[in-house]
């Protein structure tokens, strides 16, 4: 097959063995690469009853079919394993240069089995692949690890690594690459830590051959023209995602005070304009990216001085408004620290804001925190806790378990303030202001999450795109973010599309927001890049198959409709302030519509056998009691 490296690396951490296996083209036809490939391989290898932090778990890192292609934003890789945070399907994605470099070295994915007793790192220099001693690296942060490895193996190497948080098995530890790119959700950094894999250093001098050499560049020219002409692109270049603070405040969707409300009085101080006014240095891009939403920033002096990657909207929300903090320098610095230690800022801010609300309610006291005062907006404590969580020190040791487990340990009614689905903290979408986001969080395979479906078409006037993608009959309801009608249809379709996008290694920017590229563009690119003849219907079915397989993975672990639930605060307590004032999330109504669309049983949320047959998963479903 063209457009891929053609080889999967298997690293047996227990026996320190490396094996190279050719890519299974039949599997690719059924699941593509990236997220789909990992979904299948890990489903087959990780049975129920596996401890996520044991040697039995399998950690996979895979590029997509179009990673290292010339398509706009083709830089991405996916990591997956059984999650130590949710105890169900764990998956996370990142941009950067590491994924393309892996392809240039000759590999489409790296799979880790077993666990080592002592720290090791994988060094890949084209054909030469070795597991090397990481004694001198263990204990180092992500930036130090990058410095040391590139000094040792060559400045042009690309690194992927865990920091102290992953080593210390923080349940929301990230896997970092290219210093400040994060596969953060699902806590897969802890899986990497449990296997004692410190890093993967890659240098590749190979090449990617494409199927249609003759017309390749002219097709890309047209894709580039469209991407640059899209009205979203200039704003993306100017702000990245940072200006979403202003937009979300405007629609009342900015989680504040542990999601008590969706508006924050100090929003201007943590906004995209505030970052641009004082701290912005330049926009940055990843491999083949025209959107350039990465930011390089600098705080020149004071306790929060640093230089490097800037937060996205998610961190402005999670370490800012979510914790009631309008201290921008602490948000920027807290984000920097999270990259350095390798942690998910969403779960981090979600966990700290849970503790802050419990403090506010008098359920957590100085006795629990070792004297730290968790008042809303106490930025010094937010930064301090960031360090303590990564190091598992004092109260940080409890919070390193994530808000769900921390509340289980403490009890005293703190459980009701945990803003989670399937034990994972909510991202920065207050769903009472955008109903589709509530449903998306409830159904996402990896727990509370906006990206599995990324249903943004009702966010900001994409009526025309809804018309194009779904049909005029769904307007105006589907485009109305406060109306639950048709959101089940939208979330289902978006999930199928987005898991397909994660399987080809493209970014959600350009394919979903702005919705410039769609199935036909992907099908065309798979044709000219990989030589695959897949229609829009084929790709939709593949997406649906992957979502159903992720569901089976979770069903096997006991997940059903009872777990597709969001906190009572969001379904029962009307939003107190701002544009969504008085709104609740009509989750059950949307769930019914969603299950119906999926061909899943309304009562249990389990796929009907008929659905499983239709998407071609009979083999996989053997032994699972599914409704007929």
């Amino acid at each position: 097959m063209k457009g891929v490296a053609g080889t999967i690396l298997w690293a047996d951490m227990t026996n320190r063995g490396i094996e190279k296996k050719p890519i299974d083209e039949e599997l690719v036809k059924k699941y593509l690469l990236g997220a789909g490939f990992l979904s299948k391989v890990i489903y087959d290898m990780v049975p129920p009853g596996t401890d996520p932090l044991s040697s039995e778990n399998v950690l996979g890192i895979a590029t997509g079919l179009l990673t290292a292609s010339m398509f706009p934003q083709a830089s991405r890789h996916v990591v997956a394993a059984l999650s130590p945070l949710t105890d169900v399907w764990g998956e996370s994605h990142a941009a950067g240069f590491w994924g393309p470099e892996l392809k240039f070295a000759g590999y489409d994915a790296v799979m880790f089995t077993g666990a080592s007793e002592k720290p090791l790192y994988l060094n890949i220099a084209d054909d030469n692949v070795e597991l090397l001693d990481a004694e001198g690296l263990w204990g180092k942060d992500v930036f130090e690890t990058d410095d040391i490895l590139r000094e040792r193996h060559g400045k042009e190497c690309r690194t992927l690594a865990i920091g102290q948080a992953g080593e210390n098995l923080v349940r929301f530890a990230a896997i970092m690459n290219d210093r400040d790119r994060a596969s953060a959700r699902s806590g897969l950094g802890a899986v990497m830590g449990s296997k004692k894999i410190k890093a993967i250093c890659v240098r590749g001098t190979g090449k990617i051959e494409v199927a249609d050499e003759k017309n390749y560049l002219s097709h890309m020219d047209e894709f580039y023209r469209r991407m640059l002409a899209n009205p979203f692109t200039p704003g993306r270049a100017k702000y990245g995602t940072t200006s979403l603070v202003e937009l979300m405040q405007h629609i009342g969707r900015l989680p504040s005070y542990n999601m008590k409300q969706g508006v924050f009085e100090g929003y201007e101080k943590i906004s995209g304009d505030a970052i641009n006014a004082q701290y912005f240095v330049k926009p940055r891009a990843d491999f083949s990216c025209l959107q350039r939403c990465a930011r390089y920033t600098k705080v020149s002096s004071g306790p929060y001085a640093y230089e490097g990657g800037a937060p996205e909207f998610e961190t402005q929300s999670s370490m800012g408004s979510r914790c009631g903090s309008d201290n921008l320098e602490s948000v920027l610095y807290g984000h920097h620290l999270s990259n350095q230690y390798g942690m998910d800022t969403i779960s981090l801010g979600g966990t700290i804001s849970w503790a802050m609300e419990c403090w506010d309610e008098g359920l957590i006291t100085a006795e629990d925190t070792g004297g730290l005062e968790l008042n809303w907006g106490n930025h010094e404590v937010i930064v301090k806790l960031t360090k303590m969580i990564a190091a598992r020190e004092g109260f940080g040791d409890l919070l390193a378990e994530g808000s769900f487990r921390a509340a289980q340990k403490i009890g005293r009614g703190t459980e009701k303030f945990v803003m989670h689905v399937k034990k994972q903290e909510f991202a920065g979408q207050e769903p009472r202001a955008q109903k589709s986001m509530g449903l998306a969080a409830a159904t996402a395979a990896r727990g509370a999450d906006h990206l599995y479906a990324f249903p943004v078409l009702d966010e900001a006037g994409f009526d025309e795109d809804i018309k194009k993608r779904f049909g005029e009959e769904y307007l105006p309801e589907m485009a109305d973010r406060l109306n639950p009608t048709y959101k089940g249809i939208m979330v289902k379709e978006c999930e199928d599309y987005m898991v397909m996008i994660e399987s080809v290694g493209l970014c959600k920017y350009g394919t979903q927001i702005p919705p410039e590229f769609f199935y036909d563009d992907i099908a065309l690119t798979l044709k000219i890049h990989n030589g695959l003849d897949l229609t829009r219907d084929d790709l939709q079915l593949i997406g649906e198959r992957i979502v159903n397989l992720n569901r089976l993975f979770n069903v096997r672990l006991g997940i059903s409709r009872k777990d597709d639930q969001i906190p009572k605060r969001l379904t029962d307590e009307p939003a107190p302030l701002g544009p969504p004032k008085g709104q609740v999330v009509e989750l059950n109504q949307m769930l019914d519509e969603y299950y119906e669309q999926r061909g899943w049983d309304l009562e249990t949320g389990l796929p009907f056998m008929e659905t499983i047959r239709r998407v071609g998963l009979e083999e996989e479903a053997k032994g699972i009691a599914l409704p007929q």
Partner: protein
């Protein structure tokens, strides 16, 4: 000889996306491969991304270094490699002060930028342009670019690091 043209980039504007690198390897060799591209992009913190090309030196040490006389300057002032003569001995690679010549691992021949402009027209942020020594001096009247390049020269042109 001040008319000699070369492609140059602004490391403050360049985002590091490597589209120029990909365009080059695709245009000339029909593959995507930084190792087969005539342009390199190097990211150096704090916040710099350098797209690096042949500087079309007036004294062109690459031409003089080649024992096979495979490199020559055309009437338009472009230094080209004659593939029939090139045996890939790498003398030009060693002679180039800008580390702008490499040996294509597939063909075994030297490859270098010939200022074709394919990447320039596709840079999404207009960070690269074709210029001359004089043109660059005019554009860089405050010496910002000269200073940044000079400060980072040991890393930019270090041949060991780019192995």
């Amino acid at each position: 000889m001040s008319e000699l043209k070369f492609v140059f980039g602004d490391p403050d504007t360049c985002t590091g996306c490597m589209i120029c690198v990909n365009v080059c390897s695709m245009y000339y060799f029909k593959v995507i491969s930084p190792a087969r591209s005539k342009v390199r992009v190097i990211r150096i913190e704090p916040g710099l991304d350098f797209p690096l090309f042949c500087r079309n030196c007036e004294d062109a040490p690459c031409i003089n270094a080649c024992p096979e006389k495979a490199l020559s300057r055309t009437s338009k002032g472009i230094v080209i490699v004659n593939n029939r003569k090139c045996v890939g001995n790498g003398a030009c690679v060693i002679a180039c002060p800008y580390n702008a010549i490499t040996i294509n691992p597939d063909t075994g021949k030297a490859i270098k930028c010939i200022q074709c402009g394919q990447c320039v027209k596709r840079c999404p942020v207009d960070a690269i342009w074709t210029t001359t020594e004089e043109g660059l001096k005019k554009k860089d009247s405050d010496g910002r670019l000269a200073r940044i390049y000079d400060e980072q020269k040991s890393e930019l042109y270090n041949k060991e690091a780019s192995k």
